[in-house]
């Protein structure tokens, strides 16, 4: 195997606040290969967006970032600002969650794409404009020659996100980080935008790191999935393996709570009880244990992320990974027998807390 495109090792991000240190990312390690699509999934507060911003070095200065991030062999955290700027928007690009606010309202869409091009390429204004028109065409903006002179507020939400993507891929990045690119959009538009991402990926061969809370969105797009919770990696593996053979209660919970999740038989939706942990005062042991239906005494010790299937690289962070399929099956029959009375999640939570 050649060196991966992106190599993150033991990434830790801490924010100092008045109420204490917020440990947003704690010891995150993963890789992204050339041209692949990695989906990073988790609830808000799981640290997925913070990790993405840490890679781009776009976190505010109040954030303490430790560990190593290597992009094509270069250690990003050791680069000076100029060196990092050469990468940002060139080989390493990012598109953001809310296209309503991510475009500067006082410049035309075209100006903003041209700026992205001319920051990294020594081309004339008109050449950059021609390229920008091509890009708008590629992402599916109708009449790009006219629309290039529109201001962002003259675009619909979906079109703005398309324009964002056009800006992101302007310099044919090696890695495109997409942070919740569809969250702020209508459901129908979401599918279109994901289609654009796929088109773009085929056209440019860029690797995509797709950060999202929506497992449903990931199914048809990602090569691999990694699930984050409480600033930690909870499960990682090829998309199908995670979908059909998850060995983590949190991933299972996520899937059960998503209406469109693939791989679940028609059953009532089961929201995960409780809310994500405070990143200031994390629970002892496994961060998910207070909400976990299967938590035991053993969960007072924090489980390691361990590989359960070496061939696929499937890894999970759960003491009971091996028995999990049986536990789930048993619980399903129990629940079916006496409506919901069998496993009271609160009780399990109390035991662990």
């Amino acid at each position: 195997m050649t060196t991966p495109l992106l190599e993150v090792d033991d990434l830790r991000v801490t924010f100092r606040t008045d109420d204490g240190d917020v440990r947003a990312v704690q010891g995150l390690s993963f890789t992204v290969a050339e041209g692949e699509t990695l989906a990073v999934v988790g609830e808000s507060g799981s640290g997925k967006t913070v990790a993405a911003l840490a890679i781009m070095r776009l976190l505010p200065r109040t954030a303490r970032v430790e560990g190593t991030i290597r992009f094509r062999g270069t250690s990003l955290l050791d680069l000076d600002e100029d060196g990092m700027r050469d990468l940002q928007g060139d080989d390493l690009a990012m598109i953001f969650q809310d296209p309503m606010t991510a475009l500067n309202p006082v410049f035309t869409v075209g100006d903003q794409i041209v700026e992205a091009i001319r920051t990294h390429r020594d081309v004339t204004e008109s050449a950059a404009r021609a390229r920008a028109t091509e890009l708008l065409d590629l992402v599916g903006i109708p009449e790009p020659k006219q629309r290039i002179d529109n201001y962002p507020h003259e675009f619909s939400g979906g079109m703005r996100q398309r324009a964002m993507i056009a800006m992101g891929i302007a310099n044919e990045p090696k890695l495109l980080i997409a942070d919740e690119p569809t969250t702020a959009l209508d459901v129908t538009v979401q599918a279109q935008v994901m289609e654009v991402v796929r088109t773009v990926q085929e056209a440019t061969g860029t690797a995509v790191m797709l950060v999202t809370h929506d497992l449903g969105l990931v199914a048809g797009t990602a090569d691999r999935i990694q699930v984050m919770y409480g600033g930690r990696l909870f499960e990682a593996g090829p998309t199908d393996t995670v979908f059909y053979g998850s060995r983590n209660p949190y991933t299972l919970g996520l899937m059960a709570s998503i209406p469109s999740a693939v791989g679940r038989t028609a059953r009532r939706l089961e929201p995960i009880p409780g809310s994500p942990p405070s990143l200031i005062a994390l629970p002892e042991g496994c961060a998910f244990s207070p909400r976990c239906a299967f938590a035991t005494e053993a969960c007072r010790d924090e489980p390691e992320l361990r590989v359960v299937d070496a061939a696929s690289g499937h890894a999970t962070r759960c003491h009971r990974a091996e028995e999990l399929p049986d536990l789930v099956a048993a619980r399903a029959t129990a629940t079916a027998g006496s409506e919901g009375g069998a496993a009271e999640p609160g009780a399990a939570g109390d035991g662990a807390a």
């Binding site: 008045d18 405070s278 005062a281 207070p290 109390d350």
Partner: protein, 296 residues
């Protein structure tokens, strides 16, 4: 509080304190606001107790020490007819603080009521208030002040009332903005659906949410009022002498700037210090009562 027990029962939040307690904790962390609070308390004490402890009365004349600079016997010096300036400054501070407090309270009361009514009912009342505010841009406050003072006298209370009548739009606009914002929110709709009276909705449901900005601005108003009152006094348009306010004291001594600058600069220093304190306390209260508005 009930919210706290609810959270505690769910076992999800570990710490839960009452709003007042949290606010105080946040306020205490604002170091400058705490210093300002202590300083303001000290000055108020000096203004209230000082003249009482001083060997000189407010209008006692010491003919052996006319128009003197600061000395051991007269720490702030004396005026041209031998009156002790420390006692006069303290009494002046007492008047100025009282007027400022009165202005802050009156302005806040008028502004809150008008702002709440116009924000909640909106429409024509809101438009009318806009027009009044616009009118204030055209009709100079000084004219109203001078005319009203000529009619109704220029004692401390009269001046305070006039200034409050001129300053309420400051508060009304803030309160109105908040009422507009909360008027259509779910908890208000819920209260309305439950049959709560309009007055109950306005004062029990919405007003507590606007409490933070109102208190903050009332505090800032104290600073503004001190400056206004003293400026008017300095121009000879404020509280009429012989009532000594800090502004009047400076006005009395501005002619002697060459020989005895301390007579003007000491009361000036008090004005600046009181205003600074009010502003810092206001800043601290903003952090404490309205944590979302923090500039971070």
């Amino acid at each position: 509080m009930s919210d706290a027990t609810l959270d505690a029962r769910e076992g999800l939040t570990t710490v839960s304190r009452s709003f007042g307690r949290q606010a105080w904790d946040r306020f205490r962390r604002h170091r400058l606001a705490m210093i300002a609070l202590v300083l303001l308390a000290l000055m108020t004490t000096a203004f209230v107790v000082g003249p009482w402890l001083s060997p000189y009365a407010f209008s006692d004349q010491d003919f052996s020490a006319l128009n003197q600079g600061p000395s051991l016997a007269h720490p702030f010096g004396t005026d041209p007819i031998g009156r002790d300036l420390m006692v006069r400054t303290f009494i002046g501070g007492r008047y100025s603080l009282r007027i400022a407090l009165l202005i802050a309270v009156l302005t806040t009361a008028i502004g809150t009521v008008i702002g709440a009514l116009s924000g909640y009912f909106g429409g024509r009342l809101g438009a009318a208030i806009d027009q009044v505010i616009n009118l204030f841009l055209i009709v100079p406050s000084l004219i109203i002040l001078i005319v009203l003072a000529a009619r109704y006298g220029s004692g401390p209370n009269a001046i305070a009332i006039v200034i409050a009548l001129l300053s309420w739009p400051l508060i009304a606009r803030i309160v109105r903005g908040s009422f507009l914002q909360f008027r259509d929110q779910e908890f208000v709709l819920a209260a309305r659906a439950a049959g709560a009276s309009t007055r109950r909705i306005m004062f029990r449901h919405i007003l507590p949410n606007v409490f933070g900005p109102i208190v903050v601005n009332a505090t800032l108003l104290i600073g503004i009022a001190i400056i206004l009152e003293s400026t008017l006094g300095f121009l000879g348009l404020g509280v009429r002498p012989p009532v000594p306010t800090l502004g009047n004291l400076i006005a009395e001594s501005k002619g002697a700037l060459q020989t005895k600058p301390s007579a003007a600069l000491i009361p000036g220093g008090f004005i600046v210090t009181i205003t600074l304190c009010a502003n810092f306390i206001g800043d601290g209260l903003r952090d404490a009562l309205d944590p979302t508005s923090r500039k971070s």
